[in-house]
Symmetry: C2
Subunit: 608 residues, 2 copies
């Protein structure tokens, strides 16, 4: 990894020109201070910090990794100092309420921050990222006292947070959880159990760690309905929030992983640890799910960031490395060989990465703006409506763009030939790091089940219908625009794929009437098709915006340049011509007989 | 990685029942001693050695890796002892001529050995594997003296070999090579240059290393036509092959790689090293290409082996791990949750791996039997004919099955959820190890170019036509068989996809008349389509064989059991229903406008 430039122009294009975030900010209270100048200044600052401080620690952090000794975790050299700068500059509380010490800016501005930071150094970003999860849970479910206490420290960044869900025998199936909570006389609880895969569970960046722990209160019902949420601090705070005595919380080990080596993944042992109920008794799983959407949006960023970082670095290499001549004849005859960016197959790999990063970014900020509205919602009904809108696109964003992030990183490596396999170049690290993204925060299988089962079928097609309508509106808007002829090559196919999406769902529903496993068999392909379709939607939308900008007078100070807009249209063309057709195989596979998955007897998979 | 069972039954099925290798062995001189009993005994011995000695070193070898100090390379603990057993048991010379100390058995039997060894421990297998490259080059191009000398030591295994092609600025584009050879008075040469990515370039397994080095004799023409091949031993042998003085050959460093950490990847510095011309002057590149096919078949094994190993381990996990209930209702109601093998989406991931390994194995032994014929060819014309048959399927085998091996390993990890990312389980290692396979021995891009450019177009469609005919013959054979009705679901689609293959080629040729870059733009999709089609061919062939075996009387001692045959048919059904449709997107993408790849100006890829 030699290069990282914050994709500020691409972010500007999407947020300001495609979605008009400035107008959006005028509609939400958090947006009051988020003037275009403020957004630009924050993005620039974040870019500077990420390029100059975080990115240089990305490769060294991977090589060194975290170390574990006597229950203590040491993060890689430089992480502690970088985190201190993070705290000093107030980055942690950017989009959290001013009354708890935050800057009160919109959530979507926090997403810009997360994208830039996460692309520069994902492992570093995991520490403040996990705090966000704890912070959001506290905001939604904490008592005023808990907010004044734990939340304000988390907002400050002097403490960090974790989410403790997984146990060795259960991940997504939380009902199998074994951790127990026993009530004490003082109203607190004693928590006992062992949690695994706890990111940032222990480290040397902050003076205290606030664990948000799922456990079952003794005697409560089995399954997910008997699980509650607890605040379990590493060090028990005194009333004035100074540090008191150590709690019975210990890190048993850290995992040795394929990647994200700078991020400590801990086994956390709670041994009669003092914990405080967070939210309602037995509603712990529901409380977790409140913020599952934003957590999953956060994970999607990893896929998009990996695509961007792989793209930038493989592009730099493709311009520099010379090999052979294109079949069309020498492009640079004065050189010993053409630079490989001239080979069509190398362009294919580069454009794929660019198309993935671009579509993912568009969907990301679309989701972020919906999340803004959720934060601004003034009553439960409004909140629910926006949450269900967000809930529909979240599994697509997380499921599809983490899968595509892996593919993009893989293509990035491939551009380097054998050099891609060598650690020094850093490309293999991008591949290793992003590989976790389809596994945590719910595997791709879980996202597919969530989308098709919960968000389409159980939702009775309400959000599904809304998205269909949205696509149709883009079609109509394109037809009504002066660019209708140029847009035909996008919106024509877009309509065709939308029709396939509808037929696909119909065929799943028909098959499910005979056997409900037909839904489980279709989740993956439905998810992937939805991802390709939504990407087609965003690329058409970006192309339309680009055509409009190209046609505008160039007096606009926010103009990003004709070449920039042209390259957006060209990327859209690439996407429609050379990526979108893959979606068809998914719609065809959905029509396959269920027996092609279910017929084989368990013992016949392998006969030994 | 907890499990490895040599897939002996699957190999038996393919070699004996699908291809009737016993009859084939009767037609080649090397086959004289390869009786079914001999083949079975060798396979069993190899399985035992691989399961008990090599597989246990796979994960430890990755964790420890090779180390480099003062020019010396130390292989991971246990490799040295395992290699000694390898030599003692005569594995190295299994399929090499008896006159040079080998066992004179068919090359395809050596492929069985390579598959089993390579699946158990790819990194270990690289050491003897690289020797094979050197041995084959010596057999074909060496003088009698060179064969009696170097070759016999390599056959014995007491010396190992390397292939030194790549330099820092050139991989596939060998014409840019800078290494020089200066003639000495005694007929030898002084070789000077630096080679990178030299697998097994230096290690502690054997007393000497024979480097086969490409270099340009001083004053010879630029480009590939001025390059010759040299034997450069690490230690110069005396006439009686005892070790003489050290040559000026040194290992400058070893690479730190994403995977195959037990295999030493060296920078080799030749500093006026004494070398001996191998084959004709200036024909070095041609000489290399003689054995490119077999080397690439060897690399394909890595993809197939990774699919098999990932499959076996994820299958074991899927049977054991319990999570949630299938949508169809509890399958194991007495348990807290169903084992995940009952979830359709997990079955999809398992069957994909199984289908990839199975199709790859079929193509592998098909290729190996053609290679047998090449070895047995008695005149140049016959050899050329067989070589061109082999040359057509080699880029598909290497290009497609290394890509699919990566995908399979990725699915294997995915079955494990978060645990797949943890080193302890070994799944991420399979992913990291196999990732090199699409990069070395010619990237996938190079395979695509070789297939479409050289093996289809420059070959004037001769082999392309032959393969089409072969597919048609399977269709006819199926129609003529009593299983014609059961075979319809395979051969019907097979014919349809074949037709697409023909149309696809036609559209490429038409586009290329306008712009030759249309060929370069189509190579990837043509290669992938060809891989899917060939896999469909092999799965149909395996299904037909399975139907025939199911219908046979069960007196046959070689019968593998009805459940086994049934599972082959079910895997074929899975492949046709849920993998083959992907091929269509490749044929559609080929029809896309060339401009969707070529229009973007170099500077507009990224605007900074």
């Amino acid at each position: 990894m030699k290069v990282f430039k914050s994709p500020i122009k691409d972010i500007q294009f999407v947020t300001q020109q495609v979605f008009d975030i400035d107008a959006h900010y005028k509609t939400i209270p958090q947006g009051a201070e988020a003037t275009p100048e403020m957004v630009a200044a924050i993005s620039q600052e974040c870019a500077k910090f990420s390029e100059n401080v975080l990115f240089p620690l990305n490769q060294s952090g991977d090589a060194e990794g975290c170390s574990f000794k006597d229950g203590q975790v040491t993060t890689p050299a430089g992480f502690k100092e970088a985190y201190q700068q993070w705290v000093d500059n107030g980055w942690q509380g950017l989009s959290h309420p001013e009354e708890y010490g935050g800057q009160g800016l919109p959530l979507s501005l926090g997403v810009i921050k997360s994208e830039i930071v996460g692309t520069a150094n994902w492992s570093f970003g995991m520490y403040p990222g996990l705090s966000l999860g704890a912070m959001n849970t506290l905001i939604e479910h904490g008592t005023e006292e808990q907010k004044r206490g734990y939340l304000s420290k988390l907002v400050e960044g002097s403490w960090t947070g974790t989410m403790c869900l997984t146990e060795s025998n259960c991940g997504s199936d939380l009902g199998q959880m074994k951790s127990k909570a026993v009530p004490s006389d003082d109203g607190s609880y004693r928590i006992t159990g062992s949690k695994i895969f706890i990111s940032s569970g222990e480290h040397d960046l902050a003076e205290n760690i606030v664990h948000i722990v799922l456990a079952r209160i003794e005697g409560e019902t089995a399954g997910t309905k008997g699980i509650s949420l607890f605040i379990v601090p590493k060090i028990l705070p005194n009333d004035d929030l100074s540090l008191g005595e150590a709690n019975q919380v210990s890190c048993g080990s850290i995992e040795h992983k394929m990647g994200i080596n700078g991020s400590a993944t801990c086994t956390m042992n709670f041994d009669g640890s003092k914990g405080f109920l967070l939210g309602e008794k037995n509603k712990g799983v529901n409380a977790m799910f409140t913020f599952m959407n934003t957590a999953r949006i956060g994970t999607a960023i990893q896929g998009i960031g990996a695509a961007e970082l792989a793209f930038q670095n493989s592009l730099a290499y493709a311009k520099e490395r010379r090999s052979m001549r294109t079949l069309g004849g020498p492009v640079e005859p004065q050189q010993a060989a053409d630079s490989i960016i001239h080979h069509p197959d190398v362009r294919r790999m580069l454009l794929k990465q660019k198309a993935i990063a671009g579509a993912g970014r568009a969907m990301l900020y679309d989701a972020a703006m919906i999340a803004d509205k959720m934060m601004a919602a003034t009553d439960d009904k409004e909140r629910e409506a926006v949450d269900s809108e967000l809930g529909f696109i979240t599994p697509i964003l997380k499921g599809f763009f983490t899968e595509m992030g892996i593919e993009a990183a893989n293509e990035g490596m491939q551009v380097f030939g054998g050099h891609g396999y060598i650690k020094e170049w850093g490309m293999e690290q991008i591949s290793r790091d992003v590989r976790i993204a389809t596994l945590y925060e719910g595997t791709t299988g879980i996202q597919g089940l969530d989308l098709l089962g919960r968000k389409v079928i159980l939702d009775k097609f309400k959000q599904y219908g809304a998205v269909n309508k949205r696509i149709l509106n883009l079609y109509k808007r394109s037809l009504a625009s002066p660019h209708r002829w140029q847009m035909m090559k996008f919106i024509g196919p877009l309509m065709g794929y939308q029709l396939r999406w509808q037929r696909m769902l119909l065929s799943i529903l028909l098959a499910a009437r005979k056997d409900r496993d037909a839904v489980g068999a279709a989740t993956h392909d439905f998810l992937m098709f939805s991802g390709y379709l939504m990407s087609a939607y965003y690329w058409a939308l970006m192309a339309l915006t680009a055509f409009e900008k190209l046609a505008q007078k160039k007096s606009d100070s926010a103009d990003l340049g004709d070449d920039f807009y042209q390259s957006k249209i060209q990327t859209a063309e690439f996407y429609y011509a050379r990526m979108l057709p893959r979606a068809k195989s998914h719609s065809e596979i959905v029509r396959a007989k269920l027996s092609s998955l279910t017929a084989m007897a368990e013992k016949d998979f392998c006969l030994e």
